[in-house]
């Protein structure tokens, strides 16, 4: 797959279909793959990678890149294409300046999952069939690939590549996913337990704003949190209220536009499960206003931009949905 992606990128540049290619390259460590723009086939052949650590969602970079001179080719995994469509729906990407290449994805692997398997001092990892051969300082180990998948990929919602000009590998379909299981587990707790859970998670927040900056849905040019009058533009949250406020508003601002790509949790340096906030909103919207998947198509109306006269009243929450 790596070779096919690289050859495709080089061919696109050499044939003049595009002047730049947006892809991935290895960062400081082999597992630390970072988005990059390549301008020559030479660069592509020496630096570009497509391996199981290519987690970053490239769609958001197209907002800025598609405004520049010339056409840009981009490589998108299935979940990235949902963000790609959603951003087009919001008129954020100039589609005619983008050549989208969909890449088949078998789920991404992350270091946290490898560490959870008890692997330390990992120096390299390669795929062989359904297994992953991991080289460590203490020798080689073989682990089943699915056990090394990142948490978000274990509950993958769809392998479908939306709105691509070309596809490398196979087109996939929607998958049955129990991605709301964790949300349901939290809902089953008492309010005191939920409060304690979120306090212990959110108190780790260092307000680095990585979740906001990486989120494809969070793409306002002027963010409410950069407003000096907002009182929360500080780099570090001053107390528990600010932590709550930041995360409530962050999740709420992307309600109905979040495609559940899981980037917020991936980039969080503190390991806060931020996607659980977004998923709760998605689950509620699905239950209350009908099933909706952001970025799945161009025509459906986002639930927060619509209403019906028969919508349930807010009292179903305040009085307790289940009579609690």
């Amino acid at each position: 797959m790596q070779d096919r992606v690289m050859e495709k990128a080089a061919a696109l540049l050499e044939s003049g279909v595009c002047t730049r290619v947006l892809g991935w390259k290895t960062g400081e460590f082999f597992y630390d793959v970072t988005p990059a723009v390549f301008t020559s086939a030479e660069e592509v052949r020496t630096q570009m990678v497509y391996n199981p650590f290519c987690g970053p969602n490239l769609s958001k970079y197209l907002i800025a890149e598609s405004r520049k001179e010339g056409k840009i080719a981009v490589f998108l995994k299935p979940c990235d294409t949902f963000s790609f469509v959603q951003l087009q729906k919001e008129h954020r990407i100039a589609r005619d300046k983008v050549y989208a290449v969909g890449v088949q994805c078998d789920g991404m692997i992350d270091m946290d999952s490898l560490k959870a398997l008890g692997l330390r001092g990992v120096t390299a990892a390669r795929e062989v069939g359904d297994n992953l051969i991991v080289s460590t300082l203490y020798g080689e180990k073989t682990v089943p690939r699915r056990e090394a998948l990142s948490l978000r990929c274990r509950v993958c919602k769809s392998k479908r590549l939306n709105d691509c000009d070309e596809i490398i590998g196979e087109q996939g379909g929607d998958l049955p996913s129990d991605r709301f299981a964790q949300v349901e587990a939290l809902e089953a707790m008492t309010p005191e337990e939920r409060f304690a859970f979120w306090r212990s998670e959110l108190s780790k927040c260092i307000r680095c704003n990585a979740c906001r900056n990486v989120c494809p849905a969070c793409s306002c040019e002027k963010c409410v949190f950069d407003n000096p009058g907002s009182g929360v533009r500080n780099k570090a949250a001053a107390d528990s209220f600010e932590e709550n406020l930041f995360h409530i508003i962050r999740a709420f601002h992307v309600a109905g536009r979040c495609t559940d790509c899981g980037e917020c949790s991936r980039v969080c340096p503190q390991g806060i499960p931020l996607h659980l906030l977004n998923r709760k909103l998605i689950k509620d919207m699905n239950q209350l206003y009908g099933p909706y998947q952001a970025g799945a198509d161009f025509d459906s109306k986002p639930p927060m931009l619509a209403f019906t006269p028969e919508d349930p009243e807010a009292s179903i929450i305040t009085n307790g949905r289940d009579g609690q």
Partner: protein, 146 residues
């Protein structure tokens, strides 16, 4: 937490200009009693209520926040309260998910003719908040005056 008899909650009521604010006026002219701890803030329409306003109110010392607007279908701007209803439902659900007490927030539709309903709602809501006690889970220590 034991019910504190001397606890005087601060309650912020966001009232839409066209229905609920006039409803509050009517309950005043009708001399209906409702607690003095209810602070009314007039907004042009219930859908003007940014979720941030609610959190801000809690930050600055509110123990309960209630939104009052025109009945669904009666919005002065035709559809504002329908959007507000979806937003508030989701926001309250998220607050509940984060462990904030359910009773601290409420939405009630009060028309300009329902002065009695306004007073009854405020009495009932204040009672709920007194039972819940002071807002601790969404407080900002820097904004405490005592």
């Amino acid at each position: 937490m034991p019910v504190n008899e001397t606890f005087k909650p601060t309650i912020v009521a966001f009232c839409c200009n066209w229905c609920s604010y006039a409803g509050a006026d009517l309950s005043g002219t009708n001399r209906l009693q409702y607690p003095a701890n209810v602070k009314i803030i007039r907004i042009p329409c219930s859908c003007r209520l940014n979720p941030m306003f609610i959190l801000r109110a809690f930050q600055r010392g509110a123990d309960g926040v209630i939104l009052c607007g025109c009945h669904p279908g009666d919005c002065h701007y035709t559809t504002g309260n329908y959007y507000a209803r979806r937003r508030m439902t989701l926001l309250f659900s998220l607050l509940d998910y984060m462990g904030i007490e359910r009773g601290r927030t409420r939405v009630e539709w009060v028309s300009a003719a329902e002065g009695a309903k306004f007073a009854a709602t405020m009495n009932d809501f204040t009672e709920t908040i007194i039972k819940l006690g002071p807002n601790r889970r969404l407080e900002d220590l820097r904004c405490k005056t005592e």
